[in-house]
């Protein structure tokens, strides 16, 4: 699965912005703030402030003039009760924005470094380009068009030893950092002065604002809220879009949503007896068919799925090879990320005795919940059956070697029929029904003691 960033938005005010703008704003929202103390979102609170009469004007006139109360706003955290007044930020006359911005102490240096490295990168690119051109010039026997017509601007400049004017200037004006031998010593009372933990910021608080890294609580300033992204997911093998959210940040719907949840039968544990080493216990499972077609199910002992029947195999493998080759180029570009994290299947000491019956699950019907004719077919396996769901009783056998207290796990493979509803090309229309296999690992708590 390849995640891709779709859009940037602020989780608090739901404003979305293009990625270039987000980069310019350092991926932070300009109007929302987080609490620097507990990282909860800050809320704006309003107070009615009586403008203070000037101290020298004690007369009645001044009072009449200033009687109109003014609405002033400050930021406050409902979680830890931090307020912007705590650190001496003056109240603002407008509800949003206008909060004083601090300039980072090293902002100039950082931008200088950025500029320098940009110049270096440009220079290197230029050099590489030139080298390539030289190589080409040596190899070429024929007069090229540029040779005939004279020189292009860039070549002329490089021959004259000018290079790129801008990059050269940036490189020249750069002062590298100078290492320093003697560092200021600790103050005398560093070890003797009592530390007031309420005055000192915690590590997370400091790291939340890397530009300032405030040491004392009184220097904590509201943090501009970090933007969130909406992401879509793409299949690594075939490049299909699997999920794609709607662009509007207020919407939680998807434009494309191909989740296994809508296609693979759902297996839920209803209840399970205590797993004991060397003993048998009963497991109740619920199976549900999420698709709109009838589904035939069979439970098999956990094993690698049997190879598909012959006719299908070749087509399938061919297809696979093709798509792998196609996707190989792309995945090479993607730094050869691991395709699927290879997980060792957990050790299974509890085995299921699968019933040798094929179960049929009715298609999902949203209206079915309104009619309640639960068809009871009392059998030793099926407990009950209701629209597209059924409950199963299975028998578990636990290995005597199972250690008490270790996690009890079991596995079984579900074989199910699946009808592909996505219209394929006309040639593929004959095999719309597939038999698919899924191995399910069930976590059944911990192994109890044998004596119990």
């Amino acid at each position: 699965m390849i995640p891709q960033v779709d859009s940037h938005y602020c989780a608090n005010c739901l404003e979305n912005m293009p990625s270039s703008e987000a980069r310019l704003k350092k991926n932070r929202c300009s109007s929302c703030f987080d609490c620097p103390s507990c990282f909860h979102t800050l809320s704006t609170r309003a107070t009615l402030a009586q403008p203070r009469p000037a101290p020298e004007a004690g007369g009645g006139d001044a009072k009449v003039e200033n009687k109109q109360p003014k609405k002033m706003y400050y930021l406050s955290c409902f979680n830890c009760r931090w307020t912007s007044r705590d650190v001496g930020i003056p109240d603002q006359p407008v509800a949003s924005g206008g909060w004083p911005e601090r300039s980072a102490p090293h902002a100039a240096r950082v931008s200088q470094l950025l500029e320098h490295y940009r110049a270096v990168a440009q220079q290197e690119k230029q050099d590489k380009l030139e080298r390539e051109r030289k190589k080409f010039a040596i190899r070429g026997k024929y007069i090229t068009l540029t040779d005939k017509t004279g020189l292009t601007g860039a070549v002329a400049r490089s021959i004259a030893g000018l290079g790129d004017a801008g990059a050269g200037a940036a490189l020249a004006g750069f002062a590298p950092a100078v290492p320093k031998e003697d560092v200021e010593g600790l103050p005398e009372d560093a070890f003797t002065k009592e530390v007031n933990l309420k005055q000192i910021t915690s590590m997370p608080q400091r790291l939340a604002s890397p530009e300032w890294q405030p040491v004392s609580v009184s220097r904590l300033h509201p943090l501009a809220k970090l933007l969130s992204v909406k992401r879509s997911q793409r299949c690594r093998a075939c490049d299909h879009n699997l999920t794609k959210p709607e662009y509007n940040p207020g919407s939680i719907k998807f434009k494309i949503e191909l989740l296994a949840y809508y296609h693979v039968p759902e297996v839920k544990i209803i209840s399970c007896e205590m797993i004991k080493p060397g003993a048998k216990s009963t497991l109740l499972l619920k199976l549900a068919n999420p698709t709109g077609h009838e589904m035939a199910l069979q439970l098999l002992p956990a094993a690698p799925p049997p190879p598909p029947p012959h006719g299908e195999t070749e087509a399938a493998t061919e297809d696979k090879d093709d798509s792998i080759e196609k996707s190989l180029d792309k995945s090479l570009k993607l730094d050869k990320e691991p395709r699927w994290p290879h997980v060792e299947p957990p050790a299974i000491l509890t085995r299921v005795t699968p019933p040798a019956v094929t179960l049929t699950l009715a298609p999902r019907d949203d209206a079915a919940e309104y009619d309640d004719d639960a068809r009871h077919e009392p059998s030793h396996i099926i407990l009950w059956r209701k629209s597209n769901k059924l409950a199963l009783r299975l028998e578990l056998t636990t290995d005597p070697a199972a250690v008490e207290g270790s996690p009890a796990r079991t596995a079984l493979t579900v074989e199910y029929s699946y009808r592909n509803t996505v219209p394929q090309s006309i040639t593929a229309s004959q095999n719309r029904d597939h038999t698919l296999y899924t191995t399910v690992y069930l976590d059944l708590g911990t192994v109890g003691s044998a004596g119990l």
């Binding site: 103390s37 507990c38 979680n79 830890c80 009760r81 931090w82 705590d86 933990l197 609580v217």
Partner: protein, 192 residues
């Protein structure tokens, strides 16, 4: 247990709450329904302009080293006890302008200054003293110091004392102050 409940004029005390023992409720205080206040270890005095919300419990616990006469539990003015909080205290004094947030628990031997906030679901059980303007918050009980006292809830109090009589049966004030203060209590009583 002798029930001796004194409600001063201007207080809004709902009938549907459990008040046991010697309790004094100051003027302007609002006590919501389903509140439990038990003064088994000694009298409880609640000062003016407190808000005690639903399901909160204040107990003056009996202790082995009971003084004679028992020391009262004094709860200062402008305290807010939010829904479901619990205060068990045999030791004397809760300052003013504190906020006990929802579901918090303050055990015995916790002394509370003024302007403190005990955050939602915070559990203070070890013997300790909260100095003024301490804020305890979060599941890990972070502590920080606020610069100023919590703002008072006078607007909320005003609203509650106006609305409460419309929807709940109230206990009548049973103490009438002497002449000079009765005028003041009239001012603070809700306007119809």
């Amino acid at each position: 247990m002798a029930h001796n409940i004194k409600i001063l004029p201007g207080a809004t005390v709902c009938e549907d709450c459990t008040l046991e023992g010697d309790i004094t409720i100051g003027g302007g205080t609002v006590i919501h329904p389903r509140v439990t206040i038990i003064a088994e270890g000694g009298p409880i005095i609640i000062a003016e302009y407190c808000i005690i919300e639903e399901y909160s419990t204040i107990i003056h616990k009996k202790s082995d080293k009971q003084e004679d006469p028992p020391k009262p539990l004094f709860i200062g003015a402008h305290n807010v006890f939010e829904v479901g909080c619990r205060l068990e205290s045999p030791c004397g004094h809760v300052g003013e302008s504190n906020v006990f947030e929802c579901k918090c628990f303050v055990g015995v031997n916790v002394k509370i200054g003024s302007g403190c906030v005990i955050g939602a679901a915070c559990h203070l059980s070890a013997p300790q003293t909260l100095v003024d303007n301490t804020v305890v918050w979060g599941s890990e009980h972070h502590v920080r110091e606020a610069l100023e006292k919590q703002p008072s809830q006078l607007l909320q109090l005003d609203f509650l004392s106006k609305v409460m009589p419309n929807y709940h049966r109230l206990r009548k004030p049973n103490i009438h102050k002497r002449q000079p203060s009765s005028r003041q209590s009239l001012d603070s009583s809700p306007k119809p």
